[in-house]
Amino acid sequence: MLHFARWQSTAIVLVIIVGIFAVIPNLVPTSWVSGLPSWLPKERIVLGLDLQGGAYLLYEVDRQDYIDKRLRSLTSDVRQSLRTEPRIGYTGLGVIDGGVQVRVRDATQFDQARQRLSELTNPLAGGLFGSSGVEEFALSEGSNNTLRLTFTEEGLAQRIRSIVDQSIEVVRRRIDELGTTEPNIQRQGEDRILVEAPGGNPEQLKALVGTTAQLTFHIVDTSISGEEAMRTRPPAGTMVLTTSEDDPVEPLRPYVVEEQPLLTGEDLVDAQPSFQQQTNEPVVTFRLTTGGARKFGQVTSQNVGRPFAIVLDDEVISAPVIREPITGGSGQISGSFTVQSANDLAILLRAGALPAALTLVEERTVGPGLGADSIAAGEIAAIVAAVLVAGSMIAVYGLFGVFANIALVLNVVLILGLLSLLGATLTLPGIAGIVLTMGMAVDANVLIYERIKDEARAGRTPILAIDAGFSRALGTILDANITTLIAAVILFQLGSGPIRGFAVTLAIGILTTVFTAFVFTRWMVAIWVRKRRPTTIPV
């Protein structure tokens, strides 16, 4: 046990050197890191959001919102399909019980109608082979000449999956526009998106990520007033939309608008915040695609004198009157913006709309002040703990306590080095994990030393006692540490963010402890034994 082959000694020294090199980038100022020699590792320990400040936001795709929207557009597809020549007479078209239902008036046309609707079941593309064989909707027949289109389970699931993917892209574009450094945006489970962004302004981040930003332009129907339409019902093909309840000018003012938008956000190529020349109030200017510009020019020339509503997420932002045909392919949106909100809307329009609303289901934000305080507190606690543990080891074990303390220092170096190399995140509970590891790491040394004492009492010579102490303590050390490792692994599975950081440092700490206490301490003791040939045991 006390003999080390040359390669073993070399390996131990190598581990120490790699550990020290891995820690170096964390000790020098950020600006120096790039100046370090190229053979040094550059990775620094990533500080968790709880230490550097930032936001952890968990969103969920609003299934119902998507289903509602999709069924609404399916309804209009069904209408269009049945109205194409030769027309098929129908009645009772609408969304009923999570499906689109329609009754064919003339039984002789039923087969024809079924034929047309079956074209709307929308086979979904699936990976390499073109079609996945999955259709989004299933067509069923009811009594009394009714036809019904409902979501297939598989189709909906697939849709939600692709919505999450699209949403992640949109969210990423939006956050990139904000200039946040290194945001982490990833899918979580089936229908969730996790956004982790360090620093910044969490309120602005939430406003940007959580807005669907579905922009549409609708012609306003002036044949009936909004209030009246709300009391009775809007004419066919129109709907009532209101301004936001926070609108500073006219909150919740109703407008009757055509259901079919004349333009959507997809027709935009660019949007920028700007100021209106006369009034100097913040506005958002936009440019349209060629197709969008043509359409817009056409519609505006037909509707001079009528207002059109600019609608964002089903809320009317403003409803300017068309004074002259707008053919240039650009325009501006006004509507009691602040500089900030004009800027945000421009970002949203540039980044595109989310395919479905996102609901914030979990939020954890930490300000930079608290993060800095936590780091300081963690550092002090670590130093005090180190002094206390090291002091008591020397007090009880003397020279061997010094060995244990050198091992302890190496242990902390290795933990920090491994955290750097793995790019793991250090959180406040993670710091607690390191401090706790310091307390528990010396346990392995204690086990060995107590065992050496036992062996010496049993009458062995010092060198044999030391040898036996190490070899017999190994099984116990492994058993004791593997049980804690199991707890750490399970903690990692369960945890998110800070807790995960704790599990990681705990697990790494266990691995390094076995090395520093069992291998490294033994190596030191072996050298000491060889040099000193001790006749008594100093423990």
């Binding site: 939020e363 606690a381 008591s392 036996a468 190994l474 199991i486 369960l494």
Partner: protein, 319 residues
């Protein structure tokens, strides 16, 4: 060079007191369960949903005034407490009715009142769906950890040890739950981390004692079980104490200097180390007697499995 000495070669007859101590522990465990069932734990927003906001003001705050300001907002049950410093306040708002979307209400209102005067150091909002999932995941984690560790000990030891270790660990977890119930310290995700770490620590301690018991079972074939266990505990006593002391020193440093955010975590851990140390001596070891451990089983197991390296090393011939 040594300044202190640990007690050496003690002969404390621990097993003589095993019955009263075990009965005492049983009573405490039952009491903990009763407390858990009646008062219950003070679950944090992680498991109950709701909003937690930590504010720092420039000047010391009048909490009574804040209470009346926030009380008029109609946010349901709101707790406002000083958090570490007189300038720091922690506000907890219960889950708002109206599903996921309604949960932002509290933060928005607080920002309206204190947005100018206070630094929002920490904001946590957990919606009803996530809180349910976290509670489930937490329970699964604790149970899963117990099972996984039991499986490991079963592999490495004999079933008596596995059962003993799990009962001991369960005892420690139950007493920790009792502590949370009686002190009403908030129980959140970090507390689950604390409980799992306690599980790890307690087992570590138990396994070390069991390791020695197993070894002595092989060595002293004729020693009666209680004496053998006493011997094992006394042999390991200095180690048990030393490890508890160093771990406690580290935890106390964390408790005093580590900041308010992890204080409840460290508090639970300190308790866990005390209970874990106690239980490895007074619960884990005597349980082997209660479980009617037969020494033949160990020897048999040894031959079948050749179960680990340390056994080979402990052959006297080697030295």
């Amino acid at each position: 060079m040594k300044l202190l000495s640990l007690p050496e070669q003690t002969r404390i007859p621990f097993m003589r007191y095993r019955k009263p101590v075990m009965i005492g522990s049983l009573i405490l465990s039952i009491l903990s369960i009763v407390l858990f069932g009646t008062i219950g734990m003070n679950y944090g927003i992680d498991f109950r949903g709701g909003t937690m906001v930590e504010l720092r003001f420039e000047e010391p705050v009048d909490i009574a005034e804040m209470r009346s300001e926030i009380g008029s907002l109609n946010l349901g049950d709101v707790q406002i407490v000083e958090f570490g410093d007189p300038t720091d306040v922690m506000i907890r708002i219960e889950e708002q009715p109206g599903g996921e979307e309604a949960q932002q209400r509290g933060v928005i209102m607080l920002r309206e009142i204190y947005g100018e005067t206070a630094d929002f150091r920490r904001v946590e909002v957990v919606g009803p769906r996530v809180s349910g999932e976290l509670a489930q995941a937490g329970a699964i984690a604790v149970v899963g950890a117990l099972l996984a560790i039991m499986a490991y000990i079963w592999l490495r030891f004999e079933w008596h040890f596995a059962v003993g270790a799990v009962v001991t660990t369960a005892h420690d977890v139950i007493l920790t739950i009792g502590l949370f119930s009686i002190t009403q310290i908030e129980f959140n995700l970090t507390s689950i981390a604390a409980v799992l770490t306690i599980v790890g620590y307690s087992l570590n301690d138990t396994v070390v004692v069991y390791d020695r018991v197993r070894e002595n079972l092989r060595r002293y074939k004729r020693l009666p079980m209680p004496d053998l266990i006493d011997l094992s505990i006394n042999q390991m006593l200095s180690r048990t104490l030393m490890t508890s002391i160093t771990t406690l020193l580290a935890l106390i440093a964390l408790f005093v200097f580590g900041g308010e955010v992890i204080r409840s975590f460290t508090f639970a851990m300190i308790w866990g180390v005390l209970v874990g140390t106690f239980s490895s001596i007074f619960i884990a070891a005597p349980l082997l007697i209660t479980l009617n451990m037969r020494r033949g089983a160990v020897a048999g197991n040894d031959e079948e499995g050749g179960d680990e390296a340390s056994e080979d090393a402990s052959e006297p011939a080697k030295a």
